[in-house]
């Protein structure tokens, strides 16, 4: 699986063979099971998969926010700007969180502290990481509110989260993430909890900010539609492993893993002739404590062969930058359609 061992200096974040486990009452869950991927400065990378596939855990592992003692990282490296985050002390990690790597969470409704003003919640990180005085921090807060498109900043900063709508709150979360000018933002399902119309606004905002400020972004989502529009590169995760990776264009054009294919088929598309119905993936996401031998996706896979039950398929190059972990990757039907919009 360690298909790449040489350090790549241009990488902002390089996750190598990461293993994260959780001890539950039903046994050990390998939420992240030997995963490698990377993010370059300024680019937008997507981590895609159903809920429970380990994508959020990956992000939390990077932040060092895996809840102990149930969860722990059992192996691998997380190289940020070339040095391994897993070797950092808690205090060193604290200095990186919010300053170097910021995070935007899925639930804007609950991720803001209800009893503190939004001003307080934006300024505190600057005060701690950048040593801002309250005045400087306030000025910065006004500035970032402007960046995320919230007008009337002075007044808004004195308000409490419940006085903002969902979309506005996610803007606030982004503002908080931006406040210390981090190099990388991890956005965990940033739009899932929002109305469809708001979703696009938020994603556009993020894309725009990322480009303007040169911040690298990791978007974690289950929605390939989102990926297609906003990500440069895509990693598809299933049951704690990466099953396919490539540029957004590659993956859209010709998914080389049955799971990716299934994901794409379950997304409604405007550019295709009306189908009978969407084709959701059969079956349930697997129980991570009782993974079948061989390929984890086999029980739900329409293309499974005997070999799939015995050997775990490795992640191998298909074409270009595209990799897939499927024994039958070459026999999959080629998808005869393009994504709605190809990222520039």
């Amino acid at each position: 699986m360690n298909e790449r061992t040489a350090p790549a200096p241009d990488l902002l974040l390089d996750v190598r063979d990461l293993h994260t486990e959780f001890a539950t009452s039903n046994g050990i869950v390998r939420a992240v099971d030997g995963v490698s991927w990377d993010v370059r400065a300024g680019e937008t990378v997507a981590l895609v998969g159903e809920s429970g596939c380990g994508k959020s855990v990956s992000a939390l592992s990077i932040m060092g926010l895996i809840s102990k003692p149930a969860g722990r990282i059992t192996g691998g490296q997380i190289l940020f700007k070339g040095s391994d985050l897993l070797k950092r002390s808690e205090e060193e990690m604290r200095k990186i969180r919010g300053r170097e790597i910021a995070m935007v969470f899925q639930e804007p409704m609950t991720s803001l502290n209800p009893v503190l003003t939004v001003g307080r919640q934006i300024t505190e990180a600057c005060e701690i990481h950048l040593g801002h005085t309250p005045e400087q921090a306030h000025a910065r807060a006004v500035e970032v509110l402007g960046l995320v498109g919230i007008a009337d900043a002075e007044r808004r900063l004195k308000q409490y989260p419940h006085q903002f709508s969902g979309g506005m709150r996610q803007r606030l979360m982004i503002a908080i993430a931006l406040s210390c000018e981090p190099a990388l933002i991890l956005a965990d399902e940033p739009t899932t909890a929002l109305d469809v119309t708001i979703q696009a606004q938020i994603l556009d905002l993020m894309k725009d900010l990322s480009r303007r400020l040169g911040v690298a972004t990791l978007i974690i989502t289950h929605n390939l539609g989102v990926v297609a529009r906003y990500a440069d590169r895509v990693n598809v995760m299933y049951a704690g492993k990466i099953v396919e990776r490539g540029t957004a264009r590659e993956i859209y054009a010709s998914p080389r893993h049955p799971y990716t294919l299934g994901l794409l088929r379950s997304v409604p598309r405007l550019d295709e002739p009306k189908r009978e119905r969407l084709a959701p993936i059969q079956g349930q996401p697997p129980d991570l404590t009782r993974l079948p031998p061989g390929c984890s996706f086999r029980p739900r896979c329409g293309y499974a062969v005997e070999r799939c039950a015995e050997e775990v398929p490795p992640l191998e190059r298909v074409a270009g930058t595209q990799h897939s972990a499927c024994w039958e990757k070459d026999k999959l039907p080629v998808r005869a359609a393009k994504p709605e919009k190809v990222p520039a």
Binding site: M63, L65, R94, K95, I96, R97, G98, R99, A102, M103, F105, E107, T110, S111, L112, N113, P114, V115, L116, E124, A125, I128, H129, Y160, H162, Q163, M173, I176
Partner: protein, 318 residues
């Protein structure tokens, strides 16, 4: 906010009136009355029925119940609780000293409970499912399990046998002699405070656990804040809301509900007065006491709601 406060305030009124009506009727349903309790319990018992009737008339007990209630309630509205049917002295005079004592014990016990509960509860939550957590939980559940009168007996015996020392017998108001006052009241405050800390500790722990699982705590951690700052600024304020409620309500309970402890520690407080008043069928005094305790309880409840609203902007701006 103001509308909220007014609304809550108005809701107190029917409750208080309900308490007044119920206690008034209840006392009159209980067999025996103050005149009997007073003149039919001693050695003489030679008091004739006419004399009893005359005494009832003197106390206004011969009037129809609704009229008695009207007279009494009209007085209450003017903050005049009347005179004790047993001693003939004004109610305020009967209650004054006892109230001071009970209030002080309640306050001290609440302070003891708070000082124990907050640190213990927070530590237990932070170290959930470790031996620290278990130790705190066992300590606090033991406090709940031990009958306070039993604990009191053990304490008094301990003083006597081990130290050959005894707390003062008679209540000295704090402003008269703080030292004597403390020497007497610190022990019941500790015994009761320990017991009530158990409730508050458990509430602090579970509330803290709940808050620590909140998304905004994760957000705060993701911002790279210091742990202390997360606890103090982000967790505590939210976690304290239910804790403050519990402590406040316990305080209100303590004001009127320390009957057993007062007996064990020989405190002449409201609890004892309560028992005496009802066993003497001192209607006016019992009514005043019930109303006082209920009002304290209801008011604390109200104050908690207002404080909730003040601490939690979601309610304030509703």
């Amino acid at each position: 906010m103001l509308r909220f406060v007014i609304h809550r305030f108005l809701l107190m009124i029917p409750t208080l009136v309900g308490v007044a009506v119920i206690i008034f009727l209840l006392l009159r349903v209980i067999p025996g009355d103050v005149v009997e309790a007073k003149f039919m319990s001693g050695e003489g018992s030679g008091v004739s029925a006419e004399v009893l009737q005359a005494e009832r008339a003197r106390l206004g007990l011969d009037k129809p119940v609704w009229e008695q209630f009207a007279i009494w309630f009209w007085g209450v509205l003017k903050f005049d609780f009347g005179i004790s049917m047993w001693t003939g002295g004004p109610i305020s005079e009967e209650i004054e000293l006892r109230f001071a004592l009970s209030l002080q014990v309640a306050l001290m016990a609440t302070i003891v409970a708070t000082l124990l509960a907050l640190p213990l509860g927070i530590i237990a939550a932070l170290k959930q499912d470790t031996w620290v957590d278990y130790a705190v939980r066992i300590f606090s559940i033991a406090g709940l399990a031990m009958p306070s009168f039993w604990l009191g007996i053990l304490m008094i015996l301990g003083f006597l046998i081990i130290f050959e020392w005894l707390p003062p017998m008679i209540y000295t108001p704090f402003w008269v002699d703080p030292w004597q006052n403390m020497l007497q009241l610190i022990w019941p405050a500790l015994a009761v405070g320990y017991r009530y800390s158990a409730v508050a500790t458990r509430m602090t722990r579970s509330s803290m656990l709940e808050v620590l699982r909140e998304d905004y705590i994760r957000t705060a951690r993701a911002k790279g804040l210091w742990l202390k700052l997360i606890l103090v600024r982000h967790a505590l304020k939210n976690a304290m809301l239910p804790v403050v409620t519990v402590i406040g309500l316990e305080f209100a309970f303590l004001l009127g509900g320390l009957v057993v402890t007062e007996q064990v520690f020989n405190l002449n407080g409201l609890g004892l007065l309560f028992v005496q008043a009802i066993s003497r069928r001192d209607y006016t005094l019992t009514q005043a006491l019930v109303l006082l305790v209920a009002a304290a309880f209801i008011f604390v409840n109200f104050a908690m709601d207002v404080m909730y609203a003040w601490l939690d902007p979601r309610i304030r701006y509703r």
